[in-house]
Amino acid sequence: MLYNIFIDPFVQMVQMPDLLVQTLWEGLVSGVLYALIALGFVLIFKASGVFNFAQGIMVVFSALTLVGFYEKFSAAGFSGHTAAFVALILTAGVMFVLAMLVERVVLRPLVNQPDIILFMATFGVTYVLIGFGEMVFGGDPKQMIASELFLPSGSVDVEMLGGLVSFQKIDIAAAVIASVMIVGLALFFQKTRIGRALRAVADSHKAALSVGISLNQIWVIVWFAAGLVALVTGIMWGARSDVSFALEIVALKALPVLVLGGLTSVPGAIVGGLIIGIGEKLGEFYWGPLLGGGIESWFAYAIALLFLLYRPQGLFGDKIIERI
């Protein structure tokens, strides 16, 4: 038994390095996608202190909106690529309207309430979005318009370490786009006027207000940015499987990523995503059979819990200082 747990998996790893590379790659890719969802959470948490449960459903909602618009336009006679890009812009517009609505209807009346109340309010947003989304788009899974958006499909097989390792092209594209987006967000935060204002709000609401930064405006911007991140995540995730409300459960996976990296840290979300993604795949592949399989559903939480016991504020989170 002990042999099976502590030695055998590592022997397998060494004996079949190609399988190990394949598993690591899959873990990396799902890690990037977890990180993207977590990124949306972090953006909103940093700027408004709201633990936005609706991020997962925003991913689904934006992807469904995109596909819905595309279907309308291609039915109206536009060619594939034009329709796809017009739909993309319109979807971004929808996410902006959503950000405005959330700020106006939910956040502004609830300003200065305890965290848990705001958390609950985002649950309300989630329910509204689920109900609205299903009513408008139906509950059936939909095909993401990957090729119309110039996303590659198919796979590349690379011969290495005595075996074939296959990389899906869409996964490579996802990793590249995610990296570009993260760098872009970092530049936006560090170099632009609005980015500086966002960081000021994150540091202290009161101080930011006192130097003339409009909180309401910042919240709209942040929710819009999170909406765009959700849209990109939705496209990537939808291209790998279908677009359906099942994605909502996957979004729950972003929670361990989030606490592992620290609720307030953008790099934390990325590193946490990679750790969880890789750890989960390795665990499922090498240790899963011992426990009867399906451990993917809770393994991520177990990893996060172990890290948290060591660092209660997550890997990169702000140190929790408690005073009386």
Partner: protein, 358 residues
């Protein structure tokens, strides 16, 4: 004017410390209990008893359990459905291993198993706080649910993977299984819920409850005042999980009749959290208000189109229900962030000073 305590003098410490010190409260409570025990079983039809009242009471019990943890001790938990599952599965195992023992004994005993598991998953709460703890309790939710699926011993290797409730009798009356009438089931649930609510009310009004509330308001300050945090938090986890466990066992034995692991999934956890927050954090009566709102509201919304004669498809009604419930959650939070219990308090204050404004 209607709700005045003037002239009600306390002449002993016991009277002063009573849970319901005001005469009107005691009358009101007696009236509610009279309705619950006599009027509802006499005049309620089968639908009202089996699909509205029984689930409402059971969910209220679960909400009280979660309220002890979230509302009184300030530990955010998203794993309450899993603890309900522990209660349900242990009651099922116990009742199939020892079929001779009274089923009610096992339903109550199952709470102790849930409490044990709850304490185990409550251990990290000393170090981890706030939303970080919520995610840690999600580990319990998903791990336990995985156990319910994978460990076939828990459901006696039943090929369907579900637990089915054996028929059991109490004083010659069937109380579980298909032959039990809604009235019997309702009365059994009602007795258990009333007794356990009174118990919980006494706990939170006593020394233990005050300890919990001190921990909630600021745990470091509580520690400096000599409250030992670990026992206090673990006790909260234990009592909370006990209530959740009993409510889970009741849910399977007296409401659903059979349950799959998916009955205890994360949605139920969220539902209980809704009830606690909409009802009012740190309020017993709030748990009942919350359960009533969250359970009965969707039923009413679903029945409305038919009652009004509107031709809406069933699927659309389902989506509309989601939409309306979500909107109402936001609405109630904006109107009264402290929950329905606070509205109740305001109403009582108005009754007290009426006809004057203050």
């Amino acid at each position: 004017m209607f709700y005045r305590e003037t002239g009600q003098f306390k002449q002993s410490y016991a009277a002063d410390q009573a849970v319901f010190p005001i005469l009107q409260d005691r009358f009101g409570l007696a009236f509610i209990l009279l309705i619950a025990f006599v009027a509802v079983p006499l005049f309620g039809n089968e639908f009202l008893l089996a699909s509205v009242m029984v689930p409402f009471l059971i969910l209220s019990l679960g909400a009280i359990g979660l309220n002890i943890l979230v509302g009184y001790t300030g530990l955010l938990s998203l794993g309450s459905a899993a603890f309900m599952g522990v209660g349900a599965y242990s009651a099922y195992k116990l009742s199939t291993i020892f079929p001779g023992v009274n089923i009610l004994v096992w339903i109550l005993c199952s709470g102790f198993f849930a409490a044990g598991i709850g304490v185990l998953f409550g251990l990290p709460s000393l170090r981890i706080k706030g939303f970080y703890l919520a995610v840690a309790t999600l580990a319990a939710q998903f791990f336990l649910q995985w156990c319910f699926v994978r460990i076939s011993w828990l459901y006696n290797d039943n090929p369907s993977g579900a637990i089915e409730v054996p028929a059991r009798k109490l004083f010659g009356l069937a109380i579980t299984g298909p032959s039990a009438t809604p009235v019997t089931r309702y009365l059994v649930v009602l007795v258990i819920v009333v007794v356990m609510t009174l118990l919980a009310s006494n706990i939170v009004h006593g020394r233990i409850g005050r300890t919990w509330m001190a921990v909630r308001d600021m745990d470091i300050a509580a520690q400096l005042m000599g409250i030992r945090l670990l026992p206090a938090k673990l006790l909260a986890f234990a009592v909370s999980s006990f209530y959740c466990g009993v409510s889970g066992a009741l849910m399977v034995f007296l409401w659903l009749g059979a349950a799959e692991p998916s009955a205890f999934d994360i949605k139920l956890s969220f539902l209980l959290l809704f009830m606690v927050i909409i009802g009012g954090l740190g309020s017993m009566i709030g748990s009942f208000f919350g359960a009533a709102l969250i359970h009965i509201l969707p039923i009413v919304i679903r029945m409305l189109p038919e009652a009004l004669g509107l031709p809406i498809a069933a699927a659309t009604v389902e989506h509309l229900t989601y939409l309306i419930v979500g909107a109402l959650i936001i609405f109630f939070l904006i109107v009264e962030p402290h929950g329905l219990a606070r509205l109740w308090q305001i109403a009582k204050q108005k009754l007290r000073v009426w006809p004057f404004p203050y």
